[in-house]
Amino acid sequence: MGFMQKLADGLAKAREKFLVKLDALIVGRKIDESLYEELEELLILNDVGVTASARLLKHLRKLVSERKVQEGHFLRPLLQEIVSERLGKPEAIELQQGRLNVFLVVGVNGVGKTTSIGKLAQYYREQGLKIMCAAGDTFRAAAAQQLEIWAERAGVQVIAHAAGGDPAAVVYDALHSARAKGIDLLLVDTAGRLHNKTNLMQELGKVRRIIEREAPDALREILLVVDASTGQNALSQVREFAEIVPLTGIILTKLDGTAKGGIVLAIREEQQVPIKLIGVGEKASDLRPFDPQEFAAALLSSKTP
């Protein structure tokens, strides 16, 4: 099954709900103010947010007047065009061959950091790379065990310390061990932390500094994991984490629920951090690169792929 199909399936619930509502709104109507207003509410209901919705609509109005469209049902292809244009080009994760690459995975509690790392480990393992994981979540009960189980499934090694230890120390050990063993990719898990807790955020800064110091130029990605059902708080998460560590991308998880991931648009409109991976299911292969065109099509296209 192609990923396009997979994505469409994963988004099926969301798409269904969104499209039915959208069609009910626009089909058979003339484009006027009240239609725009209702459209704005629909976007807000999908977590696109007040600000981003306003921008999308402004863009839509412009297209409508340029193309002299009057019938409501033309809005859907226009929206698809706008969404894919505004989401921009896909940005892939690239590894450097023949040397150590490090990914640091961060996020608030319960978004799926450890699970995403498990999936990444499996994915890159299947590409034939030597992988190691560092259990940087020393706080939550049994977090290291959770990572170990994932790693065992993927057949990769985990470096872990006793619970309650210093995450920076775990990372330090992992870096040295990874270098000694000629590891291609080290995946660093971290404890979930709410972005307004200064001390915990400082700890994250320290972990990053250790990586930069012990393995210069190896830190390839700092990925923020965001739960797709998060509302406007996701913007605050991106902003605050980016202030402490230079985020290179976002992993959007749990897109297989009924949340439409309208937050994708909100994040894109208000933050500079690209979405690189999305999770649409529980299997390792369900974590995939994010393609804005595919996403827009899966959400808005009238043809089921």
């Binding site: 619930k13 509410e41 807000i44 209901l45 999908n46 977590d47 947010g49 007040v50 608030v108 509690n109 319960g110 978004v111 799926g112 498990g118 706080f139 939550r140 009960a141 049994a142 977090a143 065990q145 959770q146 170990e148 189980i149 994932w150 619970a163 709410l194 972005h195 307004n196 807790k197 200064t198 001390n199 739960d227 059902s229 998060t230 509302g231 406007q232 708080n233 996701a234 605050s236 998460q237 605050e240 749990k254 297989d256 629920g257 009924t258 949340a259 439409k260 309208g262 937050i263």
Partner: protein
């Protein structure tokens, strides 16, 4: 918590405050701000619409004619409507008169079920129950380990069946085991599941049929967006939930999900999770939460928290010491330790009136390590020095600084602080003597 929402509403109302009379236009304009603020706080659109309409109807009809300060009147109405929206009065959980009571936690992945199970067990044990935690999450790797670790930390037994992959069987066996062990409260931690996963929703129904929970709590992440409503409705439809636990409210999430969940399901929010520590679970009070949203600080919760942590008898002793001017560095140390027991300081201070609003304090971070440093300094003093700080001269200061790994300046600062505290306390104590305002908690 709810800070941004509170701030926005306050800014809106400031405009109203200066007015002698309110026109319909004023109200409409203020409510547009309210609408925006609520939407940005992830309150469900439909809920916002009803809320705004309800406030408007009351505000326009009355304020213009009756109220002397219409601005205040609108704030009062918004406050009252918020309380109504949040569920009116405080709801307790249902426990069966015939033990064991069965309590089940359900929700999406990552909402915080396992952690809340531990917190609830701790809280209800404090209320005299004998909980048994049950690990029914057989899917997520290490979920059982997590619950067992929490059980060990709390010294509360955990029931698990590692060889079983059948949550229904585990729940049934746990209930029987509770009866044999004389535990009167069974807390079932279930696996996180999507509300659209029919197989797993069926599994929840099967568990319900097997053990008939007296209380089913839906655990909802405060950061959830507009979809919180769909999730709450789906769980409610499948297994008829009794209430909601809102988690991660210690973040900067504005918690709109909390406002919406109650409104659409009609099921009350019963508890809120306000931190990662196992004691960071509170009974939900709609009136207090409404006050918090509007920026009227939540003093009641603060006092409750203090009472839980402070030893009442010792507090009385301290007060006596203050009056008789025999307050020493040792008492100072005890006090510091008790305050630390109350939980993270910044969280506490957020609830003190004025603190949440004072601009210059907003970026202030309370460093718990600073307290540790103070402790270290006091620990490096001799007993006599602690009782008679006056005797600490230059060479003693040097020794104390060396012993505690601090500098002489640190020691000086502490002694100065202590002296100021003592003076302040004296003032409070005198006030009390004259029958004035009594200082109930002589905080530092």
């Amino acid at each position: 918590m709810f800070k941004a929402l509170g701030e926005r509403l306050q800014a809106t109302f400031k405009k109203l405050r200066g007015k002698g009379k309110l026109t319909e236009q004023d109200v409409t304009e203020a409510l547009r701000e309210v609408r925006m603020a609520l939407l940005e706080a992830d309150v469900n659109l439909k809920v916002v619409r009803d809320f705004v309409a309800a406030v408007k109807e009351r505000a326009v009809g009355q304020a213009v004619f009756e109220s002397l300060t219409p601005g205040q009147h609108v704030i009062k109405i918004v406050h009252e409507e918020l309380i109504k929206l949040l569920g009116g009065s405080t709801s307790r959980i249902n426990l069966s008169p015939n033990p064991p009571s069965v309590l089940m936690l359900v929700g999406l992945q990552g909402s915080g079920k396992t952690t809340q199970a531990g917190k609830l067990a701790r809280l209800l044990r404090k209320n005299g129950r004998h909980p048994l935690l049950v690990a029914c999450d057989v899917y997520r790797p290490a979920a059982i380990d997590q619950l067992e670790t929490l059980g060990r930390q709390l010294d509360i037994p955990v029931f698990s069946m590692r060889e079983s992959k059948n949550p229904v069987e585990i729940a049934r066996a746990a209930k029987e085991s509770a009866m044999r062990q004389g535990r009167d409260l069974v807390i079932i931690d279930t696996a996180g599941r999507l509300h659209i996963d029919e197989r797993l929703m069926q599994e929840l129904q099967d568990i319900c049929e097997a053990v008939h929970p007296h209380e089913i709590l839906l655990v909802v992440d405060a950061m959830t967006g507009q979809d919180a409503v769909t999730v709450a409705e789906a769980f409610d439809k499948a297994i008829s939930i009794d209430g909601i636990v809102m988690t991660k409210l210690d973040g900067d999430a504005r918690g709109g999900a909390a406002l919406s969940a109650k409104a659409v399901t009609g099921k009350p929010i019963k508890y809120i999770g306000v931190g990662e520590r196992l004691d960071a679970l509170e009974v939900f009070h709609p009136d207090r939460m409404a006050s918090r949203i509007l920026g009227m600080a939540d003093v009641l919760s603060l006092i409750e928290r203090a009472e839980e942590a402070l030893d009442v008898k010792r507090a009385a002793e301290l007060e006596q010491k203050l009056r008789s001017q025999t307050f020493t560095l040792e008492d100072f140390l005890t006090q510091l330790q008790e305050i630390r027991n109350m939980g993270p300081l910044d969280q506490l201070l957020g609830r003190v009136p004025g603190f949440a609003q004072a601009k210059q304090l907003q970026n202030m971070q309370i460093d718990e390590r600073e307290l540790k440093r103070v402790e270290a300094v006091i620990f490096s003093m001799t007993k006599r020095e602690r009782q008679r700080p006056e005797m600490i001269d230059g060479s003693r200061r040097k020794r104390i600084a060396l012993g505690s790994g601090t500098s002489v300046q640190d020691v000086n600062r502490l002694l100065k602080q202590f002296e100021q505290t003592r003076k302040m306390m004296k003032t409070f104590a005198d006030m009390g003597k004259r029958g004035g305002k009594k200082a109930k908690f002589p905080l530092v």
